[in-house]
């Protein structure tokens, strides 16, 4: 069988307008904003503690509302990737 995708309870969200807008959005929909993703401007790391940590199904519900928010330009639920040391 093909390896199945495993979804985590972390999201990457692209929001313009700075960290305040990102923080406001995270709070509005019940996410914890873990800050900007590395050096990538306008990309933020959101965490949702009430979503199952690892699942073979992508999450819906509240997350659908976030993506529909006009301030959110792009959003992606994070998939757990298999990475091996060489």
């Amino acid at each position: 069988p093909n390896p199945r995708t495993i979804y985590s309870n972390h999201w990457a969200v692209r929001v313009s307008g700075g960290p305040e807008v990102a923080a406001e959005l995270a709070g509005k929909y019940g996410y914890l904003n873990l800050g900007q993703i590395g050096n990538l401007e306008n990309y933020y790391h959101f965490h949702h503690s009430k979503t199952i940590k690892r699942s073979t199904r992508s999450s819906r519900g509240i997350h659908n509302f976030l993506i529909m928010d006009p301030k959110v330009e792009w959003m992606q639920q994070q998939e757990v990737k298999k990475r091996v040391k060489r």
Binding site: Y43, H45, K82, R83, V84, R86
Partner: protein, 807 residues
């Protein structure tokens, strides 16, 4: 010309002597110093003011060999979201990888501990990101930690190397790479070094790893001490260069730092090679801090050499550079890197020319080759995109296919350089094909881009497939990267390697020149030698005192022009004396002595190999029907009845068909109810009670005859008291089983007892003790009754008799 003299540099680090890939202290063993690291050190470059970070499972910052060069600002714990990259310790030392890689790069020198790092004065940090769920966010964060501060990111991990995975960076990680090369190092571009992959044994191909296959990463592969492909190495055309690494057990390994403040001599895999190159790049950056990310790739292409690395596919590309799918442009050369870096002029700006996508669908039929071509002017009509001289070439393809691993893809450049973009992968049974997958090759580096590019796709089924389901090439696009002008100063292009290594005191910064002038030995090529020659030269002259300086040899010449020759009295182990040419010729791999160079001309084998006399070959594993004799180092034939034996010809563990194992002997299989009598060498009848046996006695039955019962390992006509008879599927006879405890005789099924031992009474088919419970009052008995405990065998001893007697 600078001569490296190891005696001029000595370190007190205890494992320095084991660092065979850096120096050659022991003249009697092979020298593998072609990476020329010491020569770069002797020029004064040790990685000072260069910052490297290891993206891995953490770095033990308190390790005595790392603490001096450890840099807090080059470190972060992405898994724990703090600034401490210390690995998580567990009993299996799972998280040792990052610390091992870090030591290779920047272990301190002369601190009496472990080893010497290649850039032993560089700053080293660790980004702990592999000890948790790895996501696109985690990777993107890790690659973007302090890009203006960290010069080199070294990563020795990637998608599974299982030979069936096709995976690469997600959108955020791709963006992190792009941002890194555009903005990192204050606009010069971050340098990402990557291990090419360990899936050699699984037949993996590193083009299926989107990290090593990226134009932004410097993909590094490995060669064994003897210049062979290590068992773990993956091939692909995006590999840029190679370092020595580990190989077979009889070849030397790499030493480095280990967690728990230890040292190790057991670090293997391509993760050995990526940090080595990170260290060498650090030396080049010290020589020239203004190198951008593409300058570094150009330097590697220009200075890496094939030396004695053995690959079947070394070829010279249209720009005159030797390249292979195993080793890229070859073994890195630290000295050449620093020398070139010092005088390097930044290459012209990178142009990208994206060709038109060819969306004409083409079926890929099994066992056939499809060929499609694209003529390109390399965007000559667009100043900002024109690519005259190539760097990376990318082919983006979308293919559907019922079994992806059966596909092979090739790209042929206008100059005729053929890159294998994809090799067959036996384990890749997936039907996912490739969706906009970008295959990358560096094999056309330096060639002219304009002209006809040919894409070839071949489908070679590895097993029976439904002929009605065919693969289909849906779309492909050629993407050319390079420059509009020639990347190098035309004058320097003509420099030979010896010219390239020219050095004068003015090339060095004043402080370094003063420090290292005494270490440099300048040789005047015109000066004639007039001293005594080595005895092995005889009277035939020499240009120096050593056996390597002879003009001709009295006895035998050992070595070659590339690695150097010397005269010897007798040829060493692994060589044969060719009296006709007076040369020591290499025996075949594994041969210690030989009478010819062929694989079947060995007369004794090296350690770990066994001689097979009838074929005169040396093998690691003796074939079926032979055993490996450790004393004689030979494959000895087993007894003719043995299929497999251990230690002695007649100590069989597996027999040929028609024979069966009796102890350690293979004896002929006898008919039913007979056994093989080893004294009389014939089959004889078993006892009448046996179905099969090992001897004539009735105690030697292995199975009982029909109508007999196996009872206490004997065959008896009926079971004795306290036992019942039971059929066992697959056996010709019945078996006597014991009735349940305290039962004298039971029903044929064995479930219900019919007679109990003294002191026990029959209750519901079980024997319960005659003793009474002293705590069985009315309430208790009601509970026992209501729970129906006495109907269950497990609880039948549970005061049931007492409660029943009490009514």
């Amino acid at each position: 010309h600078v001569r490296t003299d190891p005696s001029l540099m000595h370190f007190n680090d205890p494992i320095w002597s084991n660092m065979w890939y850096l120096h050659c202290a022991d003249k009697s063993s092979r020298c593998r110093t072609e990476m020329n690291v010491m020569a770069a050190w002797q020029r004064g470059y040790t990685g000072k003011n260069v910052v490297i970070s290891i993206l891995d499972d953490g770095v033990e910052k308190s390790h005595p060999d790392l603490i001096q060069n450890y840099d807090q600002l080059a470190s972060y714990d992405v898994n724990g979201d703090d600034y401490d990259p210390t690995p998580r310790y567990d009993v299996s030392n799972e998280n040792k990888h990052g610390t091992r890689c870090a030591g290779e790069v920047a272990a301190s020198a002369n601190n009496s501990y472990c080893i010497v790092g290649i850039a032993y004065n560089a700053r080293i940090g660790g980004i702990r990101m592999l000890d948790g769920d790895v996501t696109d966010v985690v990777e993107a964060k890790s690659l973007g930690i302090r890009p203006d501060y960290i010069d080199i990111y070294s990563a020795s991990w990637g998608p599974d190397d299982d030979g069936k995975t096709v995976d690469g960076p997600g959108p955020l990680t791709r963006k992190a790479f792009e941002d890194g090369i555009k903005k990192g190092r204050k606009g010069l571009g971050s340098i990402f070094v990557w291990a090419s992959g360990n899936g050699g044994r699984e037949g993996d191909y590193c083009s299926c790893d989107g990290y090593t296959n990226s134009i932004y990463t410097i993909s590094i592969s490995s060669a064994t001490e003897n210049g062979y492909k290590p068992w773990y190495l993956e091939e692909c055309p995006s590999t840029l260069a190679t370092t020595y690494s580990s190989g077979a057990f009889y070849e030397r390994k790499i030493v480095t730092t280990d967690i728990r403040q230890r040292c190790t001599d057991d670090h293997t895999g391509t993760s050995v090679s990526a940090p080595m190159v990170a260290g060498i790049i650090a030396l080049a950056l010290e020589a020239n801090q203004q190198l951008n990310w593409r300058d570094v790739q150009h330097l590697l292409v220009k200075t890496s050499r094939s030396v004695h690395l053995r690959a079947p596919d070394w070829r010279t590309n249209g720009a005159g550079r030797k390249v292979s799918h195993l080793y890229g442009f070859g073994l890195v050369d630290a000295e050449a890197m620093v020398v070139e870096a010092k005088k390097w002029k930044t290459v012209p700006v990178q142009h990208t020319c994206v060709g038109a996508s060819d969306k004409r669908p083409r079926f890929i039929r099994a066992n056939q080759l499809i060929r499609t071509s694209s003529h390109t002017k390399a965007c000559a009509d667009n100043n900002g995109q024109y690519v005259a001289y190539l760097e990376h070439v990318v082919v983006r393809v979308t293919i559907s296919h019922p079994r992806r691993g059966d596909l092979q893809i090739f790209l042929i450049s206008p100059s005729g350089t053929k890159s294998q973009l994809l090799g067959r992968r036996t384990f890749d049974y997936l039907n996912e094909g490739f969706k906009n997958w970008e295959f990358m090759t560096v094999h056309c580096w330096g060639e002219k881009a304009e002209g006809e590019w040919v894409l070839e796709i071949q489908d070679m089924p590895s097993q029976l497939r439904n002929p009605e389901i065919q693969g289909k090439l849906k779309e492909w696009t050629l993407i050319l990267y390079g420059t509009a002008e020639h990347p190098y100063n035309p004058v320097s292009v003509q420099h030979s390697r010896s010219r390239m290594l020219d050095i004068s005191a003015t090339d060095l910064e004043p402080s370094k020149a003063a420090l290292f002038q005494s270490h440099l030995e300048f040789i005047d090529e015109e000066e004639e030698y007039s001293g005594l020659c080595h005895p092995e030269c005889g009277d035939r002259g020499c240009d120096g005192p050593g056996p390597e300086h002879c003009l001709k040899c009295v006895h035998y010449s050992l070595g070659n022009e590339k690695i150097g020759r010397k005269c010897v009295t007798t040829c060493p182990s692994g060589f044969m004396s060719d009296a006709a040419t007076r040369r020591c010729r290499h025996c075949y791999r594994g041969c210690d002595t030989c009478f010819g160079r062929g694989h079947n001309q060995c007369s004794a084998c090296k350690k770990g190999f066994y001689l097979q006399l009838d074929t005169s070959t040396c093998t690691l594993i003796c074939p079926a029907g032979y055993y490996a004799d450790e004393h004689q180092k030979r494959c000895i034939k087993c007894h003719q009845n043995c299929k497999k034996c251990i230690g002695f010809p007649d100590k069989c563990v597996l027999c040929r068909d028609g024979f069966s194992l009796l102890g350690s002997l293979c004896v002929p299989e006898c008919e039913q109810a007979t056994f093989y009598n080893t004294a009389l060498m014939r089959c004889e009848k078993c006892h009448a009670t046996c179905h099969s046996c090992t001897g004539p006695g009735k105690e030697q039955c292995t199975q009982c005859a029909k109508d007999f019962h196996l009872h206490e390992w004997r065959c008896v006509p009926a079971c004795s008291q306290g036992f019942y008879s039971e059929d066992v599927p697959g056996l010709p006879h019945k078996v006597c089983r014991r009735c349940e405890e305290n039962c004298l005789s039971c029903e044929a099924t064995g479930k219900n007892c019919v007679r109990c031992k003294d002191g026990y009474s029959l209750l519901s088919g079980s024997c319960v003790t005659n003793n009474t419970c002293n705590n069985a009052d009315e309430v208790f008995c009601n509970m026992v009754k209501s729970s129906k405990l006495c109907e269950r065998k497990l609880f039948i001893q549970f005061c049931c008799r007492t409660c029943l007697l009490a009514g």
